[in-house]
């Protein structure tokens, strides 16, 4: 079982160059759980994730891991506790799957040392979990989008961190692969207790797979908690400006939102809504 950590953002303000995107966020990542950050485009969810993974330095406030500010923790030591799969990592030309996954071992290796037995085991385990062992000697360029994403996650797993961040791990994937990736991440969380924090675009998949939701709007934390408590039509309206009704997901029992547009709405059920949008 992976160790529990207290991982918090305190009054965090962050952004790029002159533009502040995160305006004073306080939050604590629930240990050994799956958390998902949701919000409209440009609400700062990726920025917040990157700030917490020390890719962006907060302009004020701080990120703390077990009470210690993360920029005070030596880089490699932090990399053994906190791993992150960036949104668009770069594939070195012609590299094989096992070599790429092996690079996740970097924080565990010394300056001169080669691969230890532990390194091989960690890489094998990560590749087994992500089901890419058979692709070991393939070149990354030969893989499909879904396979490629599994390889990247395997690299992050080889890092053997207690906490794993993923920035939109399912974007650009077919729905089949989205579900596959989220299932594998859930396996990981259930089997090893890995704390997972990710940014997802799909609200309903977020509600289904998350233990905890962070809802962001304009760089601020609007609501957080279990999906069944947090996901209401009022919240969705507030975050996305979208009318919807929330039903129970017939498969998982989690909340599932059904958007209400201007067209294709039954007159007898939502005549009020429709009437509104026609006049406006």
């Amino acid at each position: 079982m992976k160790s529990a950590h207290v991982f918090e953002a305190e009054e965090t303000v962050a952004g790029y160059d002159n533009e502040t995107i995160i305006h004073g966020v306080n939050l604590s990542i629930p240990s050994n759980k799956i958390s998902v950050m949701i919000g409209a485009n440009a609400c700062g969810k990726s920025t917040l994730l990157k700030t917490m993974a020390r890719l962006i330095k907060p302009s004020s406030g701080q990120i703390t891991l077990d009470g210690q500010s993360i920029d005070k923790i030596p880089a490699k030591q932090l990399a053994r506790v906190l791993g992150m799969l960036p949104q668009s990592p770069i594939v070195p030309e012609g590299i094989t799957v096992s070599d790429l996954v092996g690079r996740g071992r970097f924080p565990h290796q010394s300056f001169f040392g080669g691969w230890s037995k532990k390194d091989y085991e960690a890489v094998a385990e990560a590749m087994d979990i992500m089901n890419v062992t058979a692709l070991s000697d393939n070149h990354i360029d030969e893989l499909s989008g879904g396979q490629r994403q599994r390889v990247w996650i395997a690299m992050a797993l080889a890092q053997q961190t207690d906490i794993l961040f993923l920035d939109e791990p399912t974007t650009f994937l077919d729905i089949t692969y989205q579900v596959e990736i989220l299932d594998l991440l859930t396996d990981l969380n259930q089997k090893y207790g890995t704390t997972i924090v990710m940014v997802l675009h799909d609200i309903n998949l977020s509600a289904r797979y998350a233990d905890h939701i962070f809802a962001l709007k304009q760089g601020q934390l609007l609501a957080e908690g279990e999906p069944s408590k947090v996901m209401t039509s009022a919240l969705i309206k507030e975050i996305f400006g979208l009318d919807c009704t929330v039903i129970k997901d017939p498969i998982s029992g989690s909340p599932s939102i059904v958007p209400i547009g201007r067209h294709h709405v039954y007159d007898d059920i939502f005549s009020l809504n429709k009437g509104k949008s026609v006049t406006s």
Binding site: K50, A53, R54, L55, A75, K76, Q77, L78, A79, R80, L82, G83, M84, P86, S88, P89, I90, P92, E93, G94, I95, T96, S98, D99, G102, R103, G104, F106, P107, Q109, F111, F112, W115, Y120, E121, V123, A124, E125, M127, D128, T133, S136, D137, Q159, F165
Partner: protein, 343 residues
Amino acid sequence: MNQSVTYIVKGRRQRRYRWILVTGLLLALACLLSCGMLLLGSTMYPAQDVFHVLMGEDISGVSFAVETIRLPRMLAGLFAGFAFGISGHTFQTMLRNPLASPDVIGITAGSSAAAVFCILILHASGTVVSIASVISGLITVLLIYIFSKGKTFSIGRLILVGIGMQAMLNALVSYLLLVGAQQDIPSALRWLNGSLNGSQMDELPPLMITVLFVAPIVIALGKHVSILELGEEAATTLGLHTDRTRMMLIVGAVSLLALATATTGPIAFVAFLSGPIAKRLVGVGLSNAIPAGLVGVNLVLGADLIGQFAFEVRYPVGVITGILGAPYLIFLLTRMNRKGNVS
């Protein structure tokens, strides 16, 4: 899982064998070419005489040819080739683009201009030339970086700015040659294209010392380079200090390059060709710095032997490597054009 471990070990071992095999063959070829450099010449001396001279004996005629002409020429080619190869490979890998070679983006030209200025105008030598060319190379890097910065970093812009810098600095070298070496065609050729002609033993120590001390550091950073290759974000989350690593690599690679340039002139395209050739031979996955350096050695020594003996006229080494490198440059540029960007 044990089965998976075995599977992964097997794949890695295969790649490692290939690395060892290729590196071994490159080393053997380099030894062969080095011997060729010592044995071949306008007068052929018996191999045992050459060997005895190298061991310190004094044989009239042979001693002069070997110790004063052939040995310095061979050593200059050997060390400069290794330095060019590693330096080019480092820049190309760090910037993830074969066009981002120091002899394409003007860094070599920067070092060259400083060396020409110090030697022909100031009549300086040794340490002064070395230091000036290293500093000038680093300033060139800085200028390219500043000019290509823009709002977001773009490797395409960096390469185009570098090509511009190259043209400007080459014009400066030509000007300095016109002012300083009007009568001296051999030295002019050396500074335009690179040459081993007239290499002297007492010019070599700065280059040799730099290669012996700096090359191992750059080679040892191979693992860090492979992490840097994954992009800024992935590298940072893996616990790499990206800025610090890049700084060390740039200073190391520029030192090697500048000292080689100050000794032999900017031997055309050796830095540019070595990395891609090594990569083709070894494959990807393990650090290719050593094979790239050895490819550099073989290119310089091989091209020099061809230049000396294959034609009626003797050509300096840079003319031959230039003929080899130009088609590859054109190939890369057409590929970049087809893809619509420099990548």
